[in-house]
Symmetry: C2
Subunit: 87 residues, 2 copies
């Protein structure tokens, strides 16, 4: 399936979260990732996040679509994922 | 149609962008909005944003789905949109 994952974490956990998401998905903006992922791998990602996020404060939202073609993507301004490899 | 809009704007433009998005969509996290919107209204929103964003720096990504039911939403941690009315 295709997912869009957005997170909002406290500053101390942001780097860990970003690194974790990068192992499974593609960074597209700020705290937004997207990509093809299996249900099992997504569970793995969320379980791992569960070990360090502060659930009273942090938030992860995952939008899941069975197929990417059901989601159109429109970009205005900078397409930042080109920087992915440099950060 | 149903959209998820994520933006990454320079600090000076963030408030303006947030206020603009709020007129059309529901805030769900950080710089993430969602909601039902017509193609015309979305164009209106993006045209308005176009007038103040810095396209060399800022970025707006809109994911569009014909129907909300094609997108599953999973939330881990805080569901922050409850605060919408207070900020």
């Amino acid at each position: 399936m295709y997912v869009i994952l957005v997170y909002d974490c406290g500053e101390k956990r942001v780097n860990k979260m970003r690194k974790l998401c990068r192992r499974y998905l593609h960074w597209i903006q700020n705290s937004v990732f997207e990509g093809e992922i299996s249900e099992v791998k997504l569970k793995e990602l969320l379980l791992e996040a569960d070990q360090f996020i502060d659930k009273a404060y942090d938030s992860i939202i995952v939008f899941k679509s069975r197929e990417q073609k059901w989601l159109d993507k429109q970009i205005v301004g900078q397409e930042k994922n080109d920087l992915d490899n440099f950060i």
